[in-house]
Chain length 222, copies 2
DNA sequence: AATATATGACTGACCGGTCAGTCAAAGTCA
DNA sequence: TGACTTTGACTGACCGGTCAGTCATATATT
C-alpha cells in the first residue's frame, strides 16, 4: 500500500500535472470528464450548439480533442448528455427540498428563493435559456426537459396550489389549471438576466415577491 | 409594347421563372428582397443562425446565392436586418391598436387576444424565441429588441396598470413596478408552443384569461 | 449597345471526427 | 522489492466535407 502511495507521488513530480489529480486512473478519468463537461457547458452557453468548436472545449478543459471522444460519442450526443448531467442534480436538490412546514405561501416562497439562488443567477439559468434556444432542434433534449423538469414542476406546483386553495390561502381556483402562471415570472427573470440585465437590471427577488402577493394577497407580516 | 410582352413571355418560357413578376425593376427587386427575407426567416427559425445555410435560403427564395449579396452585406447583417424588418411592422400594428374604450381590463384583454392572434401562433412567435436564443451572441439584436419592443411594451403596460390602479380595477399597487408580471404568461405561451406543444398542448387564450382574473379579480360578466 | 442585374461554379478557411503513436500506471515475475 | 511487460488513456497532426463569400459570365432592361 505505501508503495502505491510513493508511486503516485513520483508520478506527480514527473509529469507537470496541475492541481490535485486523483490517484487512480479511474479517478483521473472522472476528473477529466468533469472538466470536459464544465468546459462544454460554458462554451455551449456562450455560443450555442452549432457555433461551438470542439477545439475550444478541449482547450478550455485542458485536454486534447481526441480525449473528448473517449467520453462522448460525438458533439451532438455530448450536448444531450450534458443537459442530463447538469440538470439531474439540480432537480434532485430542488425536489428533495420541501420540509413540510408552515403556510403554503411560505412553502412557495422558500421554493422561489431557492430557485433564485440555485438557478436564476447561475450557469444553470443560462442552461435553461440554452434549452429554450436549442430545444426545437434537439427533440431529445426538449423531451428530457419536459419529462424531468416541466411535468414534475407542474405537478408539484399544482399540488401546492390546490393545497393553497383548500386552505383558503388562494382565491383564484382556476390557477390550479395553469401552474405555468405561478412559474412564469421566474422564467422571465432567467431570460431577462441573460438578455437585458445590461440595459435594465431586474430585481428578481422583489418581482417574485410581488407576484406572490398577487396570488396569495398582500402580506401582512413583514 | 407588344414586342416587350412577347420578349418577356419568351424569357419566362426560356427560364423556368415563377408566378407574377411585378413590372418595374424596383418592384421586382422588392419582391425578390421580400422572398429572401421570408425564406431567411423560415430557415433561421428552423435551424438557428449558425446552422442556417445561405444556399438553403437562396433555394427557398428561388434565387441564386449571389443575389442575396445584392441585398445584404453578409449573413450576420442579414440576420440583424431581418429582425428589424419583421418586428417593426408588428410593433406598429400592436401600438396603434388601442381604441380608448371601456375598462382597463377590456383594454388589456383586447391587447392579449391581439397578441395571441398576431404573434403567439405565428412565425412571429418563433421569432421571439429565436431572439431569446441568439440574443446573447447578437448584442445589436438584443439592443434593438429591448429598445423597440421591451421598453415600449413595459411603458405601455405600466401606464395601463397605473390606470387600472387609479380606477380601482387593480388592487396590487406594486404591480406597476413589474409590468413583466403582466406579460410573463404571454411569453411563456410562446415558448411553450414551440417546445412542448407536442407533449402537452396549451390553451394560451384560457391561460391568459385566468391570469387576468388573477390581476383584475374574477370576472362577473360572462 | 450600354448598363444594370442575376447567376452559380469556385475558392479557401474552418471544423468535426479519426487514428497511429506515446507513455504513465497496472500487472507480472523472480 | 525491483525489473520487465502489458494496457489503454491520451495526444494532436491530419483528413475530408462543408459553407460563406466572390466574381466572371449570362441575362434582362433601357
Amino acid at each position: 500500500m505505501p508503495s502505491a502511495v510513493r508511486a503516485k507521488g513520483r508520478a506527480l513530480e514527473a509529469s507537470e500535472e496541475a492541481a490535485a489529480p486523483g490517484s487512480s486512473r479511474a479517478a483521473r478519468a472522472a476528473e477529466r470528464r468533469a472538466a470536459i463537461v464544465e468546459a462544454a457547458l460554458e462554451e455551449f452557453i456562450a455560443r450555442g450548439f452549432a457555433a461551438t468548436r470542439l477545439d475550444d472545449i478541449a482547450k478550455r478543459a485542458g485536454v486534447a480533442k481526441g480525449t473528448i471522444y473517449l467520453h462522448f460519442k460525438d458533439k451532438e450526443s455530448m450536448f444531450e448528455e450534458l443537459v442530463r448531467i447538469v440538470i439531474v442534480p439540480v432537480v434532485e436538490r430542488l425536489t428533495t427540498l420541501p420540509p413540510p412546514t408552515g403556510s403554503v405561501r411560505d412553502l412557495v416562497e422558500a421554493f422561489a428563493s431557492n430557485f433564485l439562488k440555485e438557478v436564476a443567477n447561475t450557469r444553470r439559468g443560462d442552461l435553461v435559456r440554452l434549452i429554450v434556444a436549442e430545444g426545437p432542434r434537439f427533440p431529445a433534449v426538449a423531451d428530457f426537459y419536459y419529462r424531468e423538469v416541466v411535468s414534475r414542476g407542474m405537478a408539484g406546483m399544482r399540488a401546492l396550489i390546490e393545497l393553497g386553495i383548500a386552505r383558503g390561502e388562494i382565491q383564484q381556483k382556476n390557477l390550479a389549471r395553469f401552474p405555468q402562471i405561478l412559474v412564469a415570472p421566474a422564467l422571465i427573470a432567467v431570460i431577462w438576466q441573460s438578455l437585458f440585465a445590461r440595459h435594465f437590471p431586474l430585481d428578481a427577488q422583489e418581482m417574485l415577491r410581488v407576484h406572490l402577493d398577487l396570488i396569495f394577497g398582500e402580506r401582512r407580516t413583514t
